[in-house]
């Protein structure tokens, strides 16, 4: 089974669908997709590491909190991330994350969009079932 993401484009905004064998993989793909919207995540060196744990009432909220946490580092510390080691618990209500990146540099990383927030629209988290991939979708306010 493969992992990946694809963009959803909308009149004023942009979102993504991400998938992988486990929720952990799908969450990591969603994060990668988000930083590809902001910049080009493949050009980000793993110079700085951030670690955090989160707990939420349900998997959807966990996904929103997770991506918002990364946006917070982006806004407060100008960090962009390109490597994600995410461990989502089986019930999809808590996670431990280690993420690697560096300070954003326009000339090296390229220019994308400024994401204001993660919204609750089109928000969906499907756990892997009967051999099918885990899949998440989310829309950003840009």
């Amino acid at each position: 089974m493969s992992s990946g993401y694809s963009l959803i484009t909308h009149t004023a905004d942009v979102g993504l669908e991400a998938w992988g064998p486990s929720l952990s993989d799908a969450f990591a793909q969603a994060a990668r997709g988000m930083f590809d919207i902001i910049t080009d995540s493949s050009k980000i060196a793993p110079a700085v590491k951030r670690e955090f744990s989160l707990a939420a009432e349900n998997p959807e909220e966990l996904l929103v909190d997770f991506l918002n946490r990364l946006l917070f580092y982006n806004g407060a510390e100008f960090l962009v991330f390109g490597r994600f080691d995410i461990d989502v618990d089986a019930d999809g209500r808590s996670l431990q994350a280690s993420v690697w990146g560096e300070e954003y540099d326009r000339s090296r990383h390229g220019y994308g969009a400024e994401i204001k927030a993660v919204t609750y629209h089109l928000l969906n988290v499907c756990k892997p079932l009967n051999g099918k991939n885990a899949k998440v979708s989310v829309l950003f306010d840009v």
């Binding site: 963009l7 484009t9 909308h10 009149t11 004023a12 905004d13 942009v14 902001i38 910049t39 909220e61 929103v64 909190d65 918002n68 946006l71 917070f72 982006n74 806004g75 407060a76 100008f78 954003y104 326009r106 220019y111 994308g112 969009a113 400024e114 204001k116 927030a117 993660v118 919204t119 609750y120 629209h121 306010d141 840009v142």
Partner: protein, 489 residues
């Protein structure tokens, strides 16, 4: 494509009747939805689901009057962009979704004593390039001032007044800013450390996307008396427009409180057709905490536009080697277009206090309201409507009609009709910039991709938006400005 009912009231007003049961078939509208539009605009706005959102807003507990939508309406999260809703000050609700993520995104207009005939294309380029250098803009733009996050309290509490006292701008700028540049209900202790940490490094920056600085010339004056009172003297006069908001600070405040409101909906047993309409009773802790925090976001944005004003003036000083005061660069007005406010209105013959939510809508108070600066009180408040970077922008005035039927509100701009992605697929940034150059408009963008995303062709025509609000009488044309140069983040 939205297929619900739209009844024509007159040439500029259409109604979604409260008998409509929504796409689900189970919607219970408590009032009508009223959309300001004309026949042409109506076809456009059925293309997304914004009318359904107008209908959904009528389910808010304690809604007073109808759910309103301005002609630049488009689909938003929960509430449509271009939506106006008033809720009772005692029995109503407050909803962060009715304000949006970019709290107090707004527009400020400066007038000058300069004339287009004073500016060669080389001069225009110099001014724009100087503003580009002096005002941090673009993705990940950092403010020039580095406040520690725990030093942000005064900004959040006092808004533009903090900026003026810190050396950014003139005392008289404050009187020409909505709320005098400060919402007094601000309470910084209701703002999370995250929002302060995200806001502090971004204070004094333009940001990216549709935010801009524009050098404009007055193209036509439609209402000479009001124009004169607003400081607009003649065609050819040079103006400067600033469009930005509360940056990461406001985004984080909204994010933090949306999460709290998700719970509040269950706690107070509120039934909603869309979770993004999440709201809480006005007297609840959730609602009051949000309102105090939102006011901090509002003040952050006022301070931000005030600092940028100062750097715009410095840019002119650098280029012309004259004091800014000699060139005018006075604030005409500064309006918010993402905000909720406690206001008093006359509704069905009685005075009524309501929380007016304006999401992508501008206050357009008519004459004699105490909130309008004394010098404008005879004609109504100035309303500033930015267009896309290739067309034009408008200065309007608020009206009695707006007071009577739209909670003193009107439109806020052009509104996108095409995704950024689609715009980038269709046009190259270089071709957009060179097409604008041929029209005499110089663009300095933080990145060429932004020029493509912000192509004029990706926006509704601001002329038709303003024709509708003018025709409906909820704000009247005073002057039209054409762009000469643009800084795009």
């Amino acid at each position: 494509m939205w297929n619900g009912p739209l009844e024509k009231i007159d040439d500029y007003r259409f109604r979604i009747p409260r008998s409509y049961r929504g796409e689900s078939g189970s919607l219970k509208m408590r009032a009508d939805g009223i959309i300001y539009a004309d026949e042409t605009m109506l076809e456009q706005l059925k293309n997304d689901n914004a009318p359904e959102q107008v209908a959904n807003v009528t389910t808010l507990p304690g809604l007073v009057g109808n759910s309103l939508a301005m002609p630049d309406i488009h689909w938003g999260y929960g509430f449509p962009i271009g939506g106006v809703a008033a809720t009772d000050a005692e029995e109503g609700v407050i909803s962060p979704g009715g304000v949006g993520f970019d709290i107090n995104c707004g527009v400020r207009l400066l007038r000058t004593n300069l004339h287009a005939s004073d500016l060669t294309p080389a001069r225009i380029k110099e001014i724009i390039d100087a503003m580009f250098v002096n005002v941090p803009s673009g993705l990940g733009s950092k403010g020039r001032v580095r406040l520690e996050w725990n030093g942000l309290e005064e900004v959040l509490r006092r808004g533009a007044a903090w900026a003026v006292e810190s050396g950014y701008g003139r005392k008289e700028d404050l009187a020409c800013t909505e709320e005098n540049g400060c919402m007094e209900s601000a309470e910084p202790s209701k703002v999370s450390a995250d929002a302060k940490k995200r806001g502090a490094p971004q204070l004094g920056s333009l940001g990216a996307g549709n935010h801009f600085l524009e050098l404009q010339t007055v193209d036509e004056i439609m209402d000479p008396r009001a124009a004169k009172i607003f400081g607009v003297d003649e065609p050819g006069q040079i103006m400067v427009m600033i469009h930005t908001g509360s940056r990461g600070c406001g985004h984080q405040i909204c994010t933090d409180h949306l999460k709290i409101f998700e719970r509040a909906v269950d706690k107070y047993g509120i039934k909603l057709p869309d979770r993004q309409l999440a709201c809480a009773p006005v007297d609840s802790k959730e609602a009051q905490d949000y309102f105090s925090a939102m006011a901090c976001g509002v003040n952050f944005a006022f301070a931000n536009r005030q600092m940028i004003t100062h750097w715009v003036r410095e840019s002119f000083e650098e280029v012309f080697r004259r004091p800014a005061g000699d060139m005018g660069l006075d604030v005409v007005y500064d309006v918010c277009h993402n905000i909720a406010k406690l206001e008093e209105h006359v509704f069905e013959g009685n005075k009524r206090k309501v929380y007016v939510h304006r999401k992508g809508a501008t206050r357009a108070f008519g004459p004699d309201r105490s909130e309008v600066p004394a010098r404008y009180r005879d004609v109504g408040q100035p309303v500033i409507i930015p267009g896309d970077m290739g067309t034009c922008s408008y200065l309007l005035k608020g009206t009695e009609k707006a007071m009577a039927e739209s909670w003193g509100s009107t439109c806020h701009g052009a509104g996108r009709t095409m995704s950024r992605h689609e715009a980038m697929r269709r046009w190259s940034g270089d071709s957009v910039v060179s097409d604008l150059r041929k029209k005499g408009i110089y663009v300095h963008a933080a990145d060429i991709k932004v020029a493509a995303e912000e192509s004029p062709n990706a926006y509704k025509d601001v002329n038709s938006v303003v024709n509708i609000t003018h025709g409906a009488g909820i704000s009247m044309k005073v002057a039209r400005m054409k762009p000469l140069g643009v800084v795009k983040g």
